[in-house]
Symmetry: C2
Subunit: 342 residues, 2 copies
Amino acid sequence: MKTFSNPSVAIVGATGAVGTTMLSILEERVFPISDLRLIASSRSVGNVIETTWGSIVVEDLDTVDPAGVDIALFSAGGARSLEYAPHFASAGASVIDNSSAFRMDDTVPLVVAQVNDEAIRSHEGIIANPNCTTMVIMMAAGPLHAAAGLRTMFATSYQSVSGSGHTGIAQLASEIDHFDSQRSNLVTGGWDEPDGDLYTRPIAYNVLPLAGSIAVVGYTDEEWKLVNESRKILDRDDIAVEPTCVRVPVMDGHGISASMWFDRRVDLDEAVAVLGSAPGMQLWDDTKVPTPLDSAGIDDILVGRLRETIGFPGGISLFAIGDNLRKGAALNAVQLAELLLA
Amino acid sequence: MKTFSNPSVAIVGATGAVGTTMLSILEERVFPISDLRLIASSRSVGNVIETTWGSIVVEDLDTVDPAGVDIALFSAGGARSLEYAPHFASAGASVIDNSSAFRMDDTVPLVVAQVNDEAIRSHEGIIANPNCTTMVIMMAAGPLHAAAGLRTMFATSYQSVSGSGHTGIAQLASEIDHFDSQRSNLVTGGWDEPDGDLYTRPIAYNVLPLAGSIAVVGYTDEEWKLVNESRKILDRDDIAVEPTCVRVPVMDGHGISASMWFDRRVDLDEAVAVLGSAPGMQLWDDTKVPTPLDSAGIDDILVGRLRETIGFPGGISLFAIGDNLRKGAALNAVQLAELLLA
């Protein structure tokens, strides 16, 4: 694996919600960068962004020359990754791609930093950053899997609107304003539909029990990511996953309610021992239940409601929450970039 | 079972969120009432409430004489039910109690109208109205159980603040206002804690993965209700239930994501046939995903995301949503009262 001591770094999709978080995290962590390039679609081209590496003019993805880029952090959507990531990789860059484009490609490692770091070593130019919901629950499932072998996982999500980028945040805010004058109608019925078609239904004061788009046999693409990415990250093809992905009116922070069973019984003491010492995670007890608001802006995944299963004894239930823009996306990408440092 | 043709009806807890909904529903359904009495705790005593049965002065629960009441609808909290419901029952009233006080009492039937109506016939003066979350999922689980025998249910809830009454609705509204000027901090962190101690953590723009209070082995009272009430309603003691109860920033309407397995395989066609013809329910396909906002103010339970399980084939996953103030509480109580009509 090619490593770098003072790389040239490019952020592709630099003005999006994840891209701007990538830049913040590179700054916070004082990532060693010889030259930073910010690249976006034509809408943002020419904008000047102030960084600790100086004022940087946003370049146009459609015309950019990737020569000289050592590490490229992509978060510009699946279609742009499919088109441009191989172009950057063949020009010599190690691409860390936040889209779903390459995640299930056998030649592309899918890596949760602090869970399956070693997988990165086999990369051939492109490394995939997992789905934000999968990432959060893998931070808890990974250490338990390492200890006892994960066989079964029920995962039900509470996904924030920042998972849909700046437009998701703006949509929730505008709908909250829209409903300000008709809050009592939210109880009795008779509310007016807000504007906007980002989601199929209103998201303010609501729950959308369908996140993503229906893909196969009634499950959404988001739900299939929980199935397939979990198996690839944990390197076990026969993990049984029952996924449900739901959008909730939260600005930032994805929560996952999960029940897990393993190759052998795992009791509460063992789960506390494993998760209490797992990296990148805070285990909170029931006197201090973690919430998405607590996760916003921090790096650690928060895990709470840890308990032994009661319907089928021998397993563990828990609630995991993480900042989907940070560990769910930008932070993990930067952590993967750090694994590429010499 | 004693029945009535034109009963004297009392609402105990008449000024609460459920009590006022009970009154609305009695009016909507033109319930035959010879004499309506509205009873509450001392705070509301003396208030005059306009009804289709005339202007009624609210009476004081502490001093009221229950003589002459035929049907008493109680929704004044568990402690008041424990104290006053037996008093009303021994004075001759048939009590329909919305609290948890008597639900697991062997001499008290626990009835979801249109699911286990026949259970009401054995009552000895008190009939229990199930928990609002359990009620909603039982409307979907009941018909499937009747067809195939429910063995296993994973249930993860998305519970609205109206489940905490008027104060829950007011708390969410005030927190939404509190966060108006600091919405960007909800993404980056650094928000100020809102006032109020109804919940342990803020509820606006947040998810509280602990609804109710921790009871036994790390599960909340709300979660144990899903276990124990489901078994009693479906009259099967060995149903394995894995429950997780979560509060979400929704004004009204409880959602439950559930996966269920039965004594035999149930496929999608059968589930569609069973639920498509079940009473009190609308089955929506994936082109029109039901949400809590759609359920507010209506009587039917909405069921969507119906699909065959993929982790352990042979079962059914679905998302059920219902107005917790109506079918989850007041409507079911009135439907039970209708079963007492001659």
